[in-house]
């Protein structure tokens, strides 16, 4: 691990950054504002009001990370940490089917039994490569994040960790807010370290709450200002008229921008009004 010997020079980092992999969200417009998709080695926070599609996007990413390399994906596995019980298996199956259908449409020469040891294009295989933890308290949430360091060492093909949602138990069960802040910073450092060490994307889904600023109530992501420093990227999902939009609100290298997206039977895709002609697989 190079980090232990000291700092890296910026030129070496540039080649690292350029070879950085990303996972498609399913929507070309959304990928564009994100610089290609959700980046490995980074922590991305995704927040939004109830029902706007956070879990849908989380599940889509857990499926898309598995798109085989020969079709432009990462060919990796996913860890899905479910703190609210929102993970509905039938929906995951639908989204897997949707992804497979799009792959077959774009690469018509392939067929369901792909060649030599590569992943078979069956929904069951996609489901089998999502490692799932059901968390019922903040203690378990801390435990699983700590345990991930060992788990990921044993499962080196994981390329994404989704926590849905990172906020739920911390909003409810913590009486001592100062302690909560310290525990959360410890967790966010751990997650950042995991992302870098194991070269994977960490995606944290967050709820919204209301905050009184500038003379009125506004929506903001939960857990407060101290948490908002912890993530590399922040995406906010919101309603704009009749469409769902995503706003890249924080990024080290990309400008703030918004793009529309849609939640369809097949999963996350471009909005109907999009300029992208076809749903992107890669």
């Amino acid at each position: 691990m190079g980090e232990q010997s000291g700092a890296q020079n910026a030129w070496d980092m540039l080649s690292d950054e350029q070879s950085q992999k990303h996972t498609t969200t399913g929507s070309g417009d959304l990928n564009d504002i994100l610089g290609g998709g959700i980046h490995c080695k980074e922590v991305t926070e995704i927040g939004g009001v109830p029902g706007v599609g956070k879990t849908q996007l989380g599940i889509q990413l857990a499926i898309n990370v598995q798109i085989p390399v020969e079709y432009g994906g990462l060919g990796g596995k996913a860890v899905y940490i479910d703190t609210e019980g929102s993970f509905m298996v039938e929906r995951v199956y639908q989204i897997a089917e949707g992804c497979i259908r799009d792959i077959l449409e774009h690469f018509p020469q392939s067929h369901e039994k792909s060649s030599s040891g590569q992943k078979q294009l069956q929904p069951e295989h996609f489901l089998a490569d999502i490692y799932y933890f059901r968390i019922c308290s903040y203690t378990e949430q801390i435990a699983v994040i700590n345990y991930l360091e060992k788990f990921l060492g044993e499962h080196k093909d994981v390329r994404i960790v989704v926590i849905d949602s990172v906020t739920f138990h911390f909003r409810q069960d913590f009486e001592d807010l100062a302690l909560r802040t310290r525990v959360l910073s410890g967790l966010s450092l751990k997650l950042m370290k995991i992302a870098k060490t194991y070269n994977l994307a960490v995606v944290l889904l967050n709820q919204v709450t209301t905050k009184f600023t500038e003379g009125s109530f506004q929506l903001t992501l939960a857990l407060g200002d101290s948490w908002s420093h912890s993530c590399t990227n922040r995406v906010i999902l919101y309603w704009n008229g009749n469409e769902r939009y995503a706003c890249l609100d924080k990024s080290p290298s990309l400008p703030v921008a918004s793009a529309p997206y849609a939640v369809t039977g097949k999963g996350i895709r471009d909005a109907v009004s999009s300029n992208h002609k076809r749903a992107r697989v890669t």
Binding site: V49, Y80, I130, F133, V144, D173, V183, T264
Partner: protein, 363 residues
Amino acid sequence: MANMPVSEMRLPPHLAHLLAARRLDTAKDVLSLPEVELMAILDAGLPTARAAVALVSEAACPPCQTALTLLEERVRLGGGGRLATTLCGLDEALGGGIPMGKLTEVVGPSGIGKTQFCLKLALLAALPEYYGGLDGRVVYIDTEFKFSSRRMIEIGQKSFPQIFRQGLAQKMAGRILVTRPTSLADFTKSLEEMKVTLLQHDVKLLIVDSMAALMSLENEKATAGFRQHPLRWTLSFLKSIAEFSRVPVVVTNQVRSQSNDDGYHFSFEVDKKDGNKCAERFDSHLVAALGIQWAHAVTVRLVFESHSGHRFIKVAKSPMSPAVAFPFVVESSGITLLRDESIDVTGPEITSIRCQGQNVLAR
């Protein structure tokens, strides 16, 4: 798992003794502390503290499954994990019916039919399996004294005449246990006793009608800060009961008028705020009581609303389907859909609740 005793974790003896000596007896005790504080309490170095945290975490972590094993388990348990409402269009939109093991919210203005819906569900859960029911008991928590046995039996007689004519009315009604807590403390107590009841007595459905009424009782004597607390606890508890016992939990919620305090926009949307305000004013714009934290926590949200002279059941939040609405009426046999084909709902209408004038509320 949070309360798992350290003594059961099979840690190396020196660590086990160290933790016990400092009264860190459960996983929660150990893991709630940041690393530096743990080091201070144990009076040990960083490697020791880290080793303790790693081992305790591994022991307290829930078992790892895969999405495939979850699916296979769902298939094995049968019934598709749903309670069918017999409203065909709605069942199809929900993937079979009200999901088991999850929290489903039914929200809408007063008088629109939420309790009627709950009464029908209670009946359905009590019916024998060969009539499409769950053949189980139902716990109905009635906080507003709206439960009417007479009405429920009427619904039963009109919907399932063949069963009820055979005199099974008594047996069916006997399976529905109604409790009437008058305060949050009462409610909390019945919920705690519920855990045992659910397991021992083969309860197949839990209905709370209504949640908001209980919370507003507490609000009258509490400050705003305190208001969050009982709701949070109740939320966690209901969800854990649902998942643990694989039972569907249906909770009804009231509506209140939109106040200026309801922040609807993010800071980057500020310039759009004034423009949108006019567009969002429907006949009588309502919001669900209990707030946004509650809205995040429920898995399925069914909004009962009225506009254009009709009543609609709107699937406003569901992992399985896009937002759709069905027109319905309330008849002697309970709620009936006027059509099984859904109407698509888009945009902010998905999350709004509409109630039109006097026509609907007068009966």
